[in-house]
Symmetry: none
Subunit: 220 residues, 4 copies
């Protein structure tokens, strides 16, 4: 309801803003976020809440399915936002964060017909490489298949973002690291991709999970 939105803003203006007025003043004419956080449009995953970051901390891209299209001759909004974050803002880290019960990944994993939502159907093709990998596997249940799809999608989008010129340059210069996360809504947990073992591990148990700071290289 729009009423709640406007009331929420009035509460912010009266109760929340005054105590942070100094901080907002210091942010008025510049931003220096160190992290680009890419997550789903889903209402249940709030990046700033989950990372306990104040305004000014995260440069955020959000879309259905936390998808990063591979780079091509017709770059769109995600490509532009990644480029701006990496080239103009010089962020040092990129987090791609999927989440449990994702409507987009569930639609893919359960082969839902997308005829009534053609734009969604088209957009999810950027997760095709995850879908194909996931379909080739055995899963013990539908739920397991969906959960695996969410993880595979994060990996596929990490592959996709490597095709972006600005990312490739920053990785080559050693000034950027890539992180893959999956957030679980019910438990508030995060599993993170460990690049050495290529598995997802609990971030709470394993906060020094190894990200990638390097360009892809072919093993000799």
């Amino acid at each position: 309801m729009m009423k709640n939105i406007i009331e929420g803003f009035l509460k912010f203006k009266t109760d929340v803003f005054p105590e942070r007025a100094e901080m907002f003043k210091s942010l008025a004419t510049s931003q220096h976020p160190r992290t680009l956080f890419i997550s789903c449009s889903d209402s249940r995953l709030v990046p700033e809440l989950v990372t306990q970051h104040e305004p000014g901390g995260l440069f955020v891209i959000r879309n259905a399915g936390n998808i990063v299209p591979s780079y091509g001759p017709e770059p769109g909004g995600v490509s532009a936002s990644v480029e701006y974050a990496v080239t103009a803002l010089q962020v040092t880290d990129v987090v791609i964060c999927g989440h449990s019960d994702c409507g987009a990944m569930t639609a893919i994993a359960t082969c839902k017909c997308m005829d009534h939502m053609p734009a969604v159907g088209s957009w999810l093709r950027y997760a095709d490489s995850a879908r194909i990998v996931n379909e080739a596997r055995q899963h013990t249940s539908e739920r397991a298949r969906i959960e695996a799809m969410v993880r595979e999608n994060v990996i596929a989008q990490l592959d996709n973002i490597r095709t972006h010129p600005s990312v490739r340059l920053a990785l080559g210069e050693g000034r950027l690291a890539l992180h893959g996360w999956v957030y679980d809504i019910e438990s508030g947990s995060i599993d993170a991709l460990d690049y050495h073992t290529n598995t997802f591990v609990s971030l709470a148990d394993y906060p020094d999970v190894r990200a990638t700071h390097t360009q892809l290289k072919v093993a000799v």
Copy 2:
């Protein structure tokens, strides 16, 4: 710094999550946000903070410049996310929210060369109609020109979102309203577009600002 991000998450898990565990449990398998909130990737504007909304409240699209491409045969991530919000989630309101000191709008209003960021340059062409209108006007200062650009961009993106099939259908059926906002980082204020007068008014002074609930018609 990634260290801060991970520490932030550990703080969330230990201090913040437990007291909201019940809420997160109830959200584990479904979301019912009523509002699609489209804003910039800028780190300084946190939609959930500004509207004082908990997880589950806002379906959020964020990209550089809070842009909504006009609809076409090659829909991208914004189009897909809009379609999902309006068709699958049946949101009742869409807020397109620009903000002060926007890097993207400043780049446009000051004719910044975009050669080193071609994806950004291409993406910002979806704000061309705002740019052309703004360039045709007199401005008392560069700052005024930038502020006017931010407002014109919100109006142009409201024009763009009307070309989306799902939005057109929902407007025609009277189940969707469109809102245009501009957030000021320093003062924490929001100006909202009043569709009757076609001007921006302070939301705090004028919380009953009139949105549009109808399909395109032109006032006399």
Copy 3:
């Protein structure tokens, strides 16, 4: 048959041109049309005949389905021609004119498979918002569904043309008006969109039909 085309030209050269030689001479080095007329490629709707205009009177765009793509970073021929008409020629009126028995609209309204004509299928997606609105309605017959599709398409293309920078600027400066027409081949009638009532009315009965001269505003 090409023979007819060439014979037609020879007839034009011998019989028609001489009596208008003076007019053609005056047009040799400049054109000053006041109206941009956008209609279908269909052979049965000749804009200059239907409006009884001589050469020099109408700047004409014709394509399958009288479609005006919404504006974007990769503008094509329609966008270029609209821009030329509004910016360089400073036309004062734009007419978007659909027509009865339109092959393109019939294909959409009857869900014709477009696999053998992929370029047509892609192009007609610019009429998606009209299609979605039309599909959500009850129609008394297939013919009624097609006729409604033709009208909805004209409205959708009027939405699309508003996203063009040159059009937005000209509307804001009060030097352009937009008109939506549907021509009936069998009866020679035209129905025009009245912007106040959002309905189509007979142009013969109601020649003072109200167009829009203003930027986007929403009627209460």
Copy 4:
């Protein structure tokens, strides 16, 4: 002036339509044009007048510069309209018709700055191969350079249309011929491309000008 347009229609309805009512009735539910006529949006060249054809005779595409984009993965309106004409209507002839004093070709030949009309600038790149050829030549005057540009553009667009799948198929099956024309506004003359000599000849003097009925072949 819109007043003239509407008065023109009323005159058509009262004076012109009745005497052709029978013809229009016979056209109400189908069209069978044999020729696809592609010409400029310019107000001074009316295809049906110049070829003395009644409604039903010509399927017409008109855009700034009578341009036919080469075929690619993102086909637009011209490609769709060509495909519809050749595949669905099975036209037997395509005429690409340029004209004297063309604003688009003059802009190219005189290197006019297009910064204020970016969509036009982008669109005219489909005439780049004509521009490059024309720039490499000596011309006796600016007027001669512009006239040569108009002719070269017709040739380049004939090359472009050959890249369309539907055209290639129809040429291979011997059921389509391609024609290149240039119309002179002042004299009412047409010069046509003779494919045997690769020169333009007066259509009045040489009505049996040789078109191409065949696919491009490489000479042995």
